[in-house]
């Protein structure tokens, strides 16, 4: 029994070297497998949530995400919705009404001047609280609007 334990111990110790090599050589493979098995994604709190709809305009597009109320067990009372402005011809001043919940009614009005970093915001829905901020992400802009349930 003692000899068997020792033998197994030495085998495990030798295998450690292969574990180390596999960790780095097979890193891409194992990483993809890990994601496939666990189906893990980055939290929508950081990514902005799933895409709900894309509004094409001349030279740019407006991407509206689904509202994010992520909580540990259930949705939180406060959340946000993210609007992305992407493209080469984003207007010098962004100004529009947004309907993020597809009910046919505008939920808020946003006006943003990237040059001066000034913004105007008007809530048109009782669940829309305020403009959290407009952020420059590479060459595009993302606006986050606070919501409540």
């Amino acid at each position: 029994m003692v000899k068997v334990k020792a033998f197994l111990g030495y085998i495990a110790a030798v295998l450690t070297l292969f574990v180390v090599l596999a960790t780095f050589i097979g890193n891409d493979f194992f990483a993809k497998k890990f994601v496939d098995i666990t189906s893990l994604k980055v939290s929508p709190i950081y990514t902005g949530g799933e895409l709900c709809k894309v509004l094409p305009y001349d030279g740019y597009q407006v991407k509206i995400h689904k509202p994010v109320f992520q909580g540990l067990f259930s949705d939180r009372a406060k959340g946000f919705v993210q609007i992305d402005y992407e493209g080469k011809n984003i207007p010098a001043i962004i100004s529009q009404n947004i309907d993020f919940d597809n009910d046919g009614n505008n939920d808020f009005y946003i006006k943003y001047d990237p040059k001066n970093n000034t913004s105007e915001f008007k809530s048109l829905n009782k669940n829309v609280v305020s403009l959290e901020g407009v952020y420059k992400v590479k060459d595009n802009y993302s606006a986050r609007v606070s919501l409540k349930k």
Partner: protein, 207 residues
Amino acid sequence: MIKGFILGLSSGGYCLASCIPVFVPYILSEGKKTKWNFIYLSKFMIGRLLGYVLFAILAWITGNFIIRQSGYKETIFAMSYIFLSLTLIIYTFSNSHRACNIKYLSKFFNYANKENNSTTILLLGLFTGLNVCPPFVLAFSDAAFFTDILNSILYFIAFFIGTTIYFMPIPFIGALKGKQIKFIGQMCSLIIGIFYMYLGILMLLGR
């Protein structure tokens, strides 16, 4: 009442997430056996229930007498967090077997029995009970519209029963012994106390 119970069941896990940072350090730092931890759990639950009952009364008053102003709610939660954090921080530096100093709660103040520190755990439960979570806010909204105050209270008692089910495993943490576990629990109390104090101050400043 069933709606209150169901809301409690749906929020129980969330309540656990907000209560465990408060309760686990206390359990660990007391270092007691499982039987004692059930007793502590019961006292903690009574504190939470008291918090819920107070909230039920508040909901009823808000709905029936006071025009709802968001400032009051925020201030109450902010004060609740600040007091909770103070309780945790004070507990970290106090000897848990010393008799409690809060004189006007004389029912719980007993020189003869130095093991009785009900006040601390009741306070912890009370202030955790005043914690906001989505089903809790829903329950508040519901209870505010009862015209009879007894209905508001019963609604929150049902809510409380729903949440209680999730707390059963906690006393078993007490099975872990040793001065080390107690020290870890005290340090946790301090860290979490500082965090809740920060949240309370931010809320009070309106951020």
